[in-house]
């Protein structure tokens, strides 16, 4: 039961972290605003559901709009600062976070919103004597589905190969005729889309509020650091570890649960700073 909860939480974290890690791997930018994009995904989902009364429409629309927002951010704000110090890029995306978080407050207010799961998934099932919401199972399935899709995309398609090439060596990729500018915009939009779908899927699970991005960004920082910044399987491992820790910790160490992820983060950074899956020390 706990395990299932942990894994479904981990799936959401995985979707968000994978976007964060792809953006870092290719663009070299640690996107502080990634949690805000996730939050936007949840709010757009709420808006779309209240407009069309249909969760599936929201699931198509919301991540798409988040991706467009991401594209605008990349082209107008990030592009001028690629040459700069990493710290400045972090600060810039922090500025974006401030704007997005407050924009959400301006548009939807500071209160919490709730989205109901779609009709077809709104129920509970019995698994080995435990009751379990169908929607959580849905997330358990869709998470690996998107993960597999991504894996196929990166391994098998030309665009996937281009992205991997650019993440290994930006200049070399440009040298062999890859339009790096367009690729960067594409990758950022793609990362934003993933954050958007994460937010959309999370909407029926969690209360939607203006501080949800603030919380998830720290969690996904922890995930990508545990797995290794820029590492694809690392994000999966990190997300699962964090999800399960959160679920079990609440049962066995209720007081320390909040601190556990940070302690784990510190240990990993100090012993294997390039992440669990890295080969070098």
């Amino acid at each position: 039961m706990n395990f299932l909860n942990g894994v479904s939480l981990g799936m959401l974290l995985f979707l968000i972290s994978i976007g964060l890690t792809i953006i870092f791997g290719v663009l070299g930018v640690l996107n502080f605003a990634h949690g805000s994009l996730y939050m936007l995904g949840a709010y757009f989902c709420f808006q779309a559901v209240s407009l069309y009364q249909n969760f599936w429409v929201a699931m198509i629309l919301s991540p798409f709009i988040v991706a467009v927002v991401g594209g605008i951010i990349e082209m107008s704000l990030l592009r001028p600062v690629y040459g700069r110090d990493v710290s400045f890029q972090l600060l810039l995306t922090f500025g974006v976070l401030l704007v997005l978080d407050d924009a959400v407050r301006l548009i939807w207010g500071s209160g919490y919103h709730i989205v109901d799961p779609p009709e077809a998934l709104n129920g509970i099932v019995h698994v080995y004597g435990f009751t379990y919401p169908v929607y959580s199972l849905f997330i358990l399935f869709i998470g690996p589905l998107i993960g597999l899709g991504l894996w196929g995309f990166f391994r098998l398609t030309l665009w996937g190969k281009k992205i991997r090439a650019a993440s290994m060596d930006r200049e070399m990729a440009a040298g062999v005729g890859i339009n790096v500018n367009r690729l960067f915009t594409g990758v950022f939009m793609f990362g934003a889309w993933l954050a958007g779908i994460g937010g959309t899927l999370a909407a029926p699970l969690r209360a939607i509020g203006p501080s949800m991005g603030e919380k998830i960004i720290i969690e996904s920082f922890i995930v990508v650091v545990i797995g290794g910044l820029g590492s694809f399987p690392g994000a999966f491992v990190g997300a699962m570890v964090l999800g399960v820790i959160n679920a079990y910790g609440a049962q066995y160490l209720p007081k320390a649960t909040m601190a556990l992820p940070y302690i784990l983060l510190a240990i990993i950074l100090l012993t294997k700073p390039r992440g669990l899956l890295s080969r070098e020390a």
């Binding site: 972090l90 810039l92 974006v96 407050d102 922890i222 983060l265 950074l269």
Partner: protein, 332 residues
């Protein structure tokens, strides 16, 4: 800054600055006095942060840890009938320094974003500690109900609970911080820190122990952050977990970038801008961070040296040209 001004002019500027700081409460109202007090406290915090960021090249995203520890210890002592406020602040700063030794020892091993994330992680550990350890820290409510005793100095006893008198307590410590930190960054120690910022490897090749210098910078920075935290707890009459949250760590970062990380007083100017923007906008709406973000983004893109940094650079150029003209004039 040193290059721009002659010694005489620099002295005059400092005197004017000191005069302004000390004379301000006579011309502004109580509300503004409180605002200025807050600006100076956060100015100390931001200055301490910038020793690490602007001078040593380490972006800490967990600096609120030391601010919060200083605040909690000070508040804890004051609530439990500790006899002296200055001593409480001193103890608070020292405990924060101790914490900085431990956190710094581990953190300075890492660079750039890894350093930023590790400090963020440590900061959040202290946050959860304050949040969970209810019996001592008061949990999410924090430590409330600080009562200020009078500040005894021999037969003279001063009541510091009025805004004006507390302003002067803070002003003294603010001037003290500025003087000490300025002395530090202008010393050979400060030069080493800056050379570490510019090029870590080359500095190491000259035989300098990078980690020791970084740690020293981290610890000094923690000390002043702790002091700022202690003052803030007294200013607010409480210590709350939000003082330790990572969003609190972001405040000195914002102030420093607003004012300019590579000029000594940049963080202070940043603090002034930060609070003036807040003051002006919260008159109309509570949602003011969006404006701060809207200022921050173009600043990072177009003026990475910050407001004061950009102004001084422009002014410096002008001065420079003038100076050359002057020199030519002398020759003819």
């Amino acid at each position: 800054m040193g290059g721009v001004f002659s010694k005489k002019r620099a002295l005059a500027l400092w005197a004017a600055g000191l005069f302004l700081v000390l004379g301000l409460p006579f011309i502004i109202n109580t509300y503004m006095t409180l605002l200025m007090t807050e600006i100076m406290i956060m100015g100390i915090f931001a200055l301490s942060f910038n020793l690490l960021f602007g001078y040593t090249g380490l972006l800490s995203f967990g600096h609120a840890a030391f601010f919060g520890i200083g605040g909690y210890i000070t508040a804890f002592l004051m609530i439990h009938d500790f006899p002296s406020m200055p001593l409480a602040i001193l103890v608070g700063s020292l405990v924060a320094t101790l914490a900085a030794v431990v956190v710094g020892y581990f953190s300075v091993k890492l660079d750039e974003i890894y350093f930023a994330i590790l400090t963020l992680g440590f900061g959040m550990m202290f946050y959860t500690l304050a949040h969970q350890w209810r019996s001592v820290t008061g949990g999410s409510d924090g430590l409330t109900g600080l009562v200020l005793p009078s500040l005894g100095a021999g037969f003279l006893s001063v009541n510091i609970s009025t805004p004006k008198s507390f302003y002067y307590v803070v002003a003294c410590l603010f001037v003290f911080t500025v003087a000490i930190l300025l002395r530090i960054v202008r010393s050979s120690f400060g030069l080493v820190l800056m050379s570490i910022r510019e090029n870590k490897e080359r500095t190491a090749f000259t035989g300098i122990d990078i980690r020791a210098y970084r740690l020293a910078s981290f610890v000094i920075s923690g000390l002043f952050a702790g002091m700022a935290g202690g003052l803030f707890a007294i200013f607010d009459r409480m210590a709350s977990p939000s003082m330790l949250h990572w969003t609190a760590s972001a405040e000195p970062v914002l102030m420093t970038v607003l004012g300019g990380a590579h000029v000594f007083l940049g963080p202070v100017v940043g603090a002034v801008i930060f609070f003036l923007v807040e003051y002006m906008i919260t008159k109309f709406t509570d949602i003011w961070m969006i404006f701060l973000g809207a200022i921050l983004i173009p600043l990072v893109i177009f003026f990475p040296e910050g407001v004061l940094g950009t102004i001084l650079a422009k002014w410096g150029k002008k001065q420079h040209i003038k100076g050359e003209e002057g020199a030519r004039g002398e020759h003819s």
